[in-house]
């Protein structure tokens, strides 16, 4: 044995190694736990503390801890309708119910929360209605381009909501494409600022989610189980009901819950397509914050967050776990063939998809390329012209800001996500705690996070005689990173789980330190997940609206989606949707590029 010799050689080497060696040694000393703690520190500063201050505001009245503000909100009929009355006066509730019955069930006042839930139920119902047939077609039929269509179902999820709103306006608006077509036969519809338009836009967003969840579950159903049921005497429909449906149900319910949460918190679509007339809780919080009525906004935020957190928890219970054994796939049948009920359904579905998905995007692009009924680059010229009347939103500045913030958000979100994935991949208490902490940012709405950041970081805090404040761009980048890092985790974690723990161990026994083993072996293995997660974080940042609109008080910090909203709501731009459509088209191009990157790398898109 030449242990002594080997050790001497190694010592000499490390002396020669220089900076790189010292870097690894430092990384070894900090370790994965250190990186995790640093991530946690960032989260505390840009998420938990700000959101905490919002929640705290809701529990204080003139400087003292009090439940009064929350109670005032709960018993305000404007927010909770008849429920508020029942809460304020429980004893009077039975009499009120009797009076209601005696009066012949008149319409009940539901309040803002009731309205929001109603809109979310409509949106969820529509998403199921559109999403399930899509899932059926994708799971049952084989056709050229099936994989592409399946991949495309992820696109709406990362499309900036405000851009979708522009698309829907150009498609269904008063002077939109639909009315142009209908005008040929002398018809005209007005759906602007109406519930159907908002629900349609929410469906655009969430129906693909239902489709993806159910198709993913259908792909893991073992054909042998169906065959077994058939050989035991079950007809085809019984085999589906008894074997396949129960396996799809958890994923379906998970999708329904998630869609409901998204619809409940939906902000830009409701704001842009519904305005304050159709305001939901989220829009109202934003409006209150705009009027600096932060106390009332905080009370609403607490109640909204309680609802969404509970639903997100329920969602996590239903969420499928990864790594089911590879099952024998159920054979798909060709889509092209003699007409059957299923094939007719598929054809009808294609039509719906055309109107709902291709329509808005195509009419937006078309709108951006026309001015006064003629093909024109005027809208893009406008974007480049760097001039605008009152409001002063400079288009090129918005584009630059978006790209800069996105780059910053990626730079922050990737290390955060990777370190959380590395810690939660292990067993133990820290992993469980980390996993739970990770989910919280998903369940808290962007507007609430934005208000928290505004209140805690932008306005600043006084600590030990120092005034600490984080200014606009930094706060925006931090908020975007918080929105994006869960997707880095979700893309990296499955790969890390697949990276046998022995892989890093092998590198260690061959002489590599922990940091070196991570870089040489683990990181290359999970690299596709890291890049996919980064592209995802990029897309999320570019499209982020909720927090940005709260934080970007100065037009100099507007991003593309915020500028878009300004064009939509600011009539001084002129009677054209053109500039907004052009900006939307640029946004579409950027997110589409991210999509291509993620899809090429087989990334995960579900949150």
């Amino acid at each position: 044995m030449d242990r002594g010799l080997g050790a001497t050689r190694r010592t000499a080497l490390s002396r020669l190694g220089g900076a790189a060696e010292r870097g690894y040694a430092l990384a070894d000393r900090i370790g994965a736990h250190g990186a995790f703690l640093a991530t946690l520190a960032v989260l505390v500063v840009v998420f938990y503390y700000p959101v905490g201050t919002v929640l705290f505001t809701a529990f204080t009245e003139s400087g003292r801890v009090s439940l009064a503000p929350l109670w005032a909100t709960l018993t305000d009929p404007f927010y909770f309708g008849v429920l508020a009355g029942a809460l304020a006066d429980p004893a009077g509730a039975p009499a009120a119910v009797r009076g209601w019955i005696d009066a012949g069930f008149p319409a009940v006042r539901t309040g803002l929360f009731g309205w929001t839930a109603y809109l979310a139920v409509l949106g969820t119902g529509a998403a199921v209605l559109v999403g399930l047939p899509g899932a059926y077609v994708l799971a049952r039929y084989e056709f050229p381009g099936r994989e592409t269509v399946r991949s495309l179902t992820v696109v709406p999820f990362v499309l900036p909501a405000i851009m979708v709103a522009v698309g829907f306006t150009t498609m269904f608006g008063t002077s939109g494409a639909l009315n142009d077509v209908l005008g040929l036969v002398g018809l005209h519809v007005n759906v602007a600022f109406s519930v159907p338009l908002v629900v349609a836009a929410l469906t655009f967003y969430n129906a693909p989610l239902v489709t993806r969840f159910v198709v993913a579950a259908a792909d893991t159903v073992d054909a042998r189980a169906v065959e077994t049921a058939r050989t035991l005497g079950a007809p085809r429909w019984r085999a589906f009901r008894d074997v396949v449906a129960p396996q799809l149900l958890p994923s379906f319910l998970a999708a329904v819950l998630l869609v409901f949460v998204f619809d409940f918190m939906a902000f830009p679509i409701v704001l842009a397509l519904g305005g304050l007339r159709l305001a939901t809780v989220e829009v109202w919080i934003y409006s209150l914050a705009g009027d600096l009525r932060l106390g009332e906004a905080a009370s609403l935020a607490v109640l909204e967050t309680a609802i969404t957190l509970a639903l997100t928890y329920a969602y996590l219970r239903y969420e499928r776990t990864e790594g089911a054994a590879r099952a024998a796939r159920i054979e798909r049948v060709p889509l092209v063939g003699p007409p059957t009920a299923g094939r007719l359904l598929a054809a009808g579905y294609a039509l719906v998809a055309l109107v709902l998905y291709v329509g808005p995007l195509a009419s937006m692009v078309l709108e951006s390329l026309t001015r006064g009924g003629h093909l024109s680059a005027a809208n893009y010229a406008f974007l480049l012209a760097q001039q605008l009347g009152t409001g002063g939103t400079q288009p090129t500045v918005a584009v630059r800001n978006s790209l800069l913030f996105a780059a910053g958000a990626v730079a922050l979100a990737v290390p955060m996500g990777v370190s959380i994935a590395a810690i939660t991949n292990r067993d133990g208490r820290l992993a469980r705690v980390g996993g739970a902490l990770l989910m919280a940012p998903l369940a808290v709405s962007g507007v609430v996070t934005g208000i928290g950041l505004l209140q805690a970081l932008v306005f600043g805090v006084d600590l030990f005689g120092w005034h600490l404040a984080v200014t606009g761009p930094v706060a925006i980048v931090a908020a975007h990173a918080v929105g994006g890092y869960p997707f880095v985790v979700r893309n990296v974690a499955p790969l890390l789980a697949r990276a046998n723990r022995d892989l890093a161990a092998a590198a260690r026994t061959l002489g590599a330190g922990p940091a070196r083993a991570f870089r040489d072996v683990t990181l290359p293995f999970v690299a596709p997940g890291v890049v996919a997660g980064a592209a995802f974080a990029f897309a999320i940042s570019v499209g982020e609206f909720n927090a940005t609109i709260v934080l970007a008080r100065d037009p100099g910090w507007y991003t593309m989606p915020v500028a878009l909203e300004r064009y939509l709501s600011n009539p001084s731009v002129g009677p054209y949707l053109g500039p907004a459509a052009a900006m939307g088209t640029v946004l579409l191009a950027v997110t589409a590029a991210s999509f291509v990157v993620v899809e090429r790398l087989g990334g995960r898109w579900e949150p």
Binding site: R3, G6, R9, L503, R508, T509, A512
Partner: protein, 337 residues
């Protein structure tokens, strides 16, 4: 020389190792054998430095390495599913350890020598995913051997391979180990493999070493009922021992039969007789049992008997039927007090 002294490891509320003492000599092929979950892999990982200990010490050549990280132990490990680096070629895999411990000559020639040694010359530029199971196993071995480790640790290196390949690679590993004179610790759940390859073996059960010795000694003289039943097949019957009367040795009463055995025994005992030690037309220790099942193994018959409600297994050169009188030599039985 590797010494483990009172090694303990606790996972949450489960104890994986409950005081393991072991010594592996230089150049020795030492096997840890036991059922899954018995702690044999944990022991191996502890030697490699991949598990921190809750108690006890590990010494290499007398030097305490207990707290030393794996990269400073100079061990070579072949993992159960090989853990080849999927993003590197075969050559890069084998060369990986050499950057931390450069060889005397060039890295290139060292890698070539190793690929030659494991019979993979010419496959250096392949990706691990393009190799068969047996080839991957040999890459893992070459990679572990590349930095000239003091100790070779093999964790079920053959379990993912089919039976024929396993037999061949087993011999190959043994040949390479002998050629290099490496202290080797080999982990397996396969008792036949353990008996076939080891210089010495340790039977591990429930986080403890049940028995250590060379394969023949442990097989012939199991110290516990667990070892008797785990290594090879055995008929272990509960009985009561007493003095042998006029003859040498003792007598063991099992049910209403009495058997003569060698050695002094007293009180409650377990009488173990290997299936191959039972035969028909025996002159001593006879009992009548009924055949319940017969399996043809090729070179012999594996015959299952029912003896007054006890299951008895015998390895015979013919397939009997009905009631059969079996017997065994007193010296062939093992009596566990």
């Amino acid at each position: 020389m590797i010494e483990l002294d009172g090694v303990e490891k606790v996972y949450g509320d489960a104890t994986a190792l409950r005081g393991v003492d072991l010594t592996v000599q230089d150049g020795e092929f030492f096997t840890l054998v036991g059922p899954s979950g018995c702690g044999k892999t944990t022991t191996l990982r502890a030697i490699a430095g991949l598990e921190s200990l809750d108690a006890g010490t590990i010494r290499f050549d007398g030097a305490d390495v207990t707290g030393r990280p794996p990269e400073d132990r100079n061990v070579g490990v072949v993992f159960q599913e090989y853990a080849l680096f999927p993003t590197m070629t075969v050559r890069e895999n084998v060369a990986y350890g050499l950057q931390f411990d450069p060889p005397e000559g060039s890295v290139e020639s060292r890698v070539d020598d190793l690929l030659e040694l494991v019979d993979l010359a010419g496959l250096g530029d392949r990706s691990p995913s393009e190799l068969s199971g047996g080839q991957r196993q040999r890459v893992a071995l070459a990679r572990a051997l590349a930095p000239e480790p003091d100790v070779l640790l093999l964790d079920e290196p053959l379990s993912a391979l089919d039976a024929r390949l396993r037999d061949r690679l087993r011999l190959e590993i043994k040949r390479i180990q002998r050629e290099l004179g490496l202290a080797t610790v080999y982990v397996t759940h396969d008792q036949a493999e353990a008996l076939a390859v080891s210089d010495r073996l340790a039977v591990v059960n429930d986080g403890r070493i049940e028995q250590v010795g060379d394969p023949e000694a442990v097989y012939e003289n199991p110290g516990t009922r667990f070892v008797a039943e785990f290594l090879g097949e055995n008929n272990c019957l509960d009985g009561r021992a007493g003095a042998g009367g006029e003859t040498e040795g003792s007598r063991v009463r099992v049910g209403d039969a009495t058997f003569a055995v060698s050695g002094e025994h007293d009180g409650d005992v377990t009488l173990c007789v290997r299936p191959e030690s039972l035969y028909v037309n025996a002159s001593q220790n006879r009992f009548v049992a009924r055949v319940t099942d017969v399996e043809f193994l090729g070179e012999a018959y594996r015959v299952h008997f029912d003896w007054n409600g006890r299951r008895v297994l015998a390895r015979l050169d013919h397939a009997p039927e009905g009631d059969v009188e079996l017997g065994f030599d007193p010296a062939a039985a093992t009596v566990l007090d």
